[in-house]
């Protein structure tokens, strides 16, 4: 069934009050709509061709490589620089100054002169400059635990143990992937009209996908140089169990708050996909089988998910119990009811934890590519389109919007110190976003506008003395301090999923919830919070490699057991 045949009355979206809560957003899972999966579907469907144009790395692991994907209209090249980094300089902090490898995604095919220019800038990262010919800039560090071990194994003619591979999951982890004009690179707006960049973060995902290919080639190359004729390459199936690690810290946490229309479009696409599936009157045998396959694979993925963080451990335990309950419910014939997906979802709302509910939401989309795969191209956003303030709006109208969309914020007692225990600010030392203790540190004067709930409540209070028919243009002339939040409130009035309906400066805020929500849309798995404010993830684990795209079927690759995928 196609989505235009669905009865739109049945396809009701979950309300923002339900979805846009931090606890739920911190339980999101990857899905068909995730940006890594969107990328690989396109590369496959359009028959993109991979070419390794250069690989000049010496025995110390120093040199450069060029990995190119040729698409229907354009080519993109990852230019990789490998360095000999002393161990004491290896740090995942965004503030580091040296890395094992540095990368840029070049728009087209780089010339010798380009490579020379890039070799003088990309290894410096923030201290270098790139041009509009470059789309992303990135860097990655080795996993000390695994990288040398795998080189040693392969050089001796042995495969590493799968358990050792799974325990870490990657040979290198990126510590930043910059796009959107950072360091002089091409502005997002200048490439946004290309079909391959229609969905969000496609250039960044392509960068990481090619980095993974390079890193696996690098480890085999170093093993061959070390072991000579006795060295072996990784077994292809074992090789695919390596992803690229990523550390994401506080610096990324404000992203969803700073891109309200983008956030709205991500959530709206996901909610639309869920609503379309829930509105299906019946399920075919093939769809049922596809769902059960992905459920089994999803279960394996949860079994492989390890974290030492107490909160996440509890959530994983809860998720395992959820999956047991779900199995039992399905065994009792749950999918034979009328409107089976809607019934299943309603059951889950009462029976499963938020982790379980959100995993089910993602799994329910799996059999329905034809129904939902059109949605990712609606997930990008022109934030500029929401920038202009409607100055003709009256104070009465503005009050009405606040009472409707910010009721949650108006209920909070903002005079309670706990309600404003934190403040987001940027530190002079490292120019990175930080979350400070408002009542203990001198950070309040430097606060970033990342507490929309509090600011909406302040705006509502300021409107108290205003006449109903006053235009907001006149109000803003007298109250420029409310201009930021008023713009935001008008955006939220048009885009209900644009606002996170929780207090982002409360004493118990968990920044990892913001990180998890964002990274789940990227397609990340195995969220491993290392504190309440930074998280490690794995990207492209189980995915095919660039040279395998053409001959391999890999639908649903994110979850393990590739051999089970129906062709």
């Amino acid at each position: 069934m196609k989505h235009d045949q669905l009865n739109p009355e049945c396809a009701t979206l979950r309300p923002a009050e339900t979805v846009m809560r931090l606890e739920r957003m911190g339980s999101f899972h990857q899905s068909r709509l995730s940006f890594m999966r969107v990328l690989l579907r396109r590369l496959k469907a359009e028959n993109w061709r991979f070419e390794r144009r250069a690989f000049e790395i010496d025995a110390k692991g120093v040199g450069h490589a060029v990995y190119t994907m040729h698409g229907p209209a354009r080519s993109y090249s990852l230019v990789a620089f490998a360095h000999d980094l002393p161990p004491e300089q290896r740090s995942d902090r965004v503030i580091a100054t040296a890395w094992d490898t540095t990368f840029t995604l070049f728009d087209g095919l780089p010339t010798e002169a380009d490579i020379k220019r890039l070799s003088q800038n990309v290894p410096l990262q923030e201290a270098g400059r790139v041009t509009t010919s470059e789309i992303t800039v990135s860097r990655a560090n080795r996993s000390v635990r695994l990288f040398d071990h795998v080189v040693d194994c392969l050089s001796c003619g042995e495969q590493p143990l799968a358990a050792d591979v799974d325990a870490v999951g990657y040979l290198m982890r990126t510590t930043a992937v910059y796009g959107s004009g950072k360091l002089g690179a091409a502005d997002r707006e200048s490439i946004a009209d290309r079909p391959e960049f229609a969905a969000p973060f496609q250039a960044e995902m392509l960068t990481v996908f090619l980095i993974r290919g390079f890193v696996l080639d690098l480890v085999e190359h170093l093993a061959a140089l070390k072991g000579g004729a006795g060295a072996v390459k990784l077994d292809p199936a074992l090789r695919r169990r390596f992803g690229i690690g990523n550390s994401t810290g506080l610096g990324m946490a404000p992203f969803l708050l700073n891109h309200p229309i983008l956030l709205n479009n991500w959530i709206k696409a996901r909610e639309t996909a869920l609503a379309r599936v829930r509105s299906l009157p019946v399920i075919s045998a093939e769809e049922t089988e596809a769902f059960f396959t992905m459920l089994r694979r999803g279960r394996r993925n949860v079994d492989d998910w390890h974290s030492e963080h107490p909160l996440q451990c509890d959530k994983i335990d809860g998720l395992k119990a959820d999956l047991d309950r779900l199995d039992a419910h399905l065994d009792s014939g749950a999918l034979t009811a009328p409107m089976p997906w809607d019934a299943l979802y309603r059951w889950a709302e009462g029976a499963l934890s938020l982790e379980g509910q959100e995993l089910l939401v993602a799994l329910m989309m799996e059999p329905y590519g034809a129904l939902v795969d059109d949605l990712p191209c609606q997930m990008s956003a022109d934030e500029g389109a929401g920038f202009r303030i409607d100055g003709c709006m009256t104070i009465a109208q503005l009050r009405g919007i606040l009472e409707r969309d910010y009721a949650w914020a108006l209920k909070i007692d903002w005079d309670n110190p706990e309600s404003q225990a934190k403040a987001w600010y940027v530190s002079a030392e490292k120019l990175e976003p930080r979350l400070g203790e408002r009542h203990l540190e001198p950070v309040a004067p430097y606060e970033q506008p990342l507490a929309p709930g509090r600011d909406a409540a302040l705006l509502f209070e300021a409107l108290g003395g205003e006449a109903d028919q006053t235009r907001v243009a006149d109000f803003l002339l007298r109250h420029p301090e409310h201009r930021h939040i008023l713009r935001r409130v008008q955006i939220v009035a048009r885009h209900p999923y644009a606002e996170i309906r929780d207090n982002t400066v409360s004493a118990d805020i968990l920044p990892i919830d913001l990180l998890r929500a964002k990274l789940s849309f990227f397609g990340a798995c195995h969220f491993d919070p290392r504190s309440d404010r930074w998280v490690r993830i794995n990207m492209f684990r189980n995915a095919p490699f660039p040279h395998e795209l053409a001959e391999m079927e890999f639908a649903g690759w994110t979850y393990p057991a590739l051999v089970e995928v129906p062709v």
Binding site: S91, K182, V426, S427, A473, D532
Partner: protein, 215 residues
């Protein structure tokens, strides 16, 4: 240095905030400087000049008021083009009526252009900004300058008029690279941006991101 438009907008926003604007007005400044740079005008330099002029002045002094002669002026001193520009945008619908808007003693008047252009687009009309014999026609695909270019980039001007025009502005894309920012301008804006950064504390350093442990 050649900067991306995103870098220019981000720096301009931070600098404007550091220069004392509210976050909402600082966002307007960022967007305005980006627009100017994209159109081949020296946006960052213009903002640096404005921030120098306005440094330390409270909003009460800069706020716009309409005099008995109908001219918009600051409470005292020069009129801030970001504050006045935001007002022009907020009242964009008034442009449909065709009334001419006169602004008195404007600081860095070229900074009004992005706002006038956005207001014109929003109202579905074409407009012209005029001062000292130079006219900037806005509302079409690219701005069109009629008169001496040199008069555009001035630090202040007596009276600026904003009026609706019949002709659509059909300017050519300008040759000059507005994305080329001099070291001096960058340093000026970064110094203002620096004021938005909090001194680091031991508490803030701890736990912000990944270290080396657990490798």
């Amino acid at each position: 240095m050649i900067c991306s438009l995103n870098e220019i907008e981000a720096l301009a926003r931070k600098a404007a905030r550091g220069g004392g604007m509210s976050w909402g007005l600082a966002e307007e400044a960022g967007k305005a400087v980006r627009w100017l740079s994209d159109k081949g005008f020296p946006g960052p330099w213009l903002l640096a000049e404005l921030l120098r002029q306005n440094d330390g002045k409270p909003y009460a002094e800069l706020a716009v008021q309409q005099g008995s002669d109908g001219v918009l002026r600051a409470q005292s001193g020069l009129l801030c083009p970001i504050i006045a520009g935001a007002l022009i945008c907020d009242q964009a619908d008034d442009l449909k009526g065709g009334a001419e808007l006169r602004l008195g003693d404007v600081a860095v008047p070229l900074l009004l252009a992005p706002f006038a252009c956005e207001a014109a687009r929003s109202a579905g009309v074409s407009v012209a900004l005029e001062w000292s014999g130079v006219t900037l026609n806005l509302g079409g695909a690219a701005p069109w300058v009629d008169g001496a270019e040199a008069a555009l980039v001035v630090a202040s001007k007596g009276t600026v008029t904003l009026s609706r025009t019949v002709a659509e502005a059909l300017g050519a894309q300008r040759e000059a690279s507005g994305r080329e920012v001099t070291r001096e301008t960058l340093q000026t804006l970064e110094a203002y941006a620096q004021r938005t950064y909090a001194p680091a504390t031991p508490e803030s350093r701890a736990g912000a991101g990944a270290g080396q442990e657990g490798d």
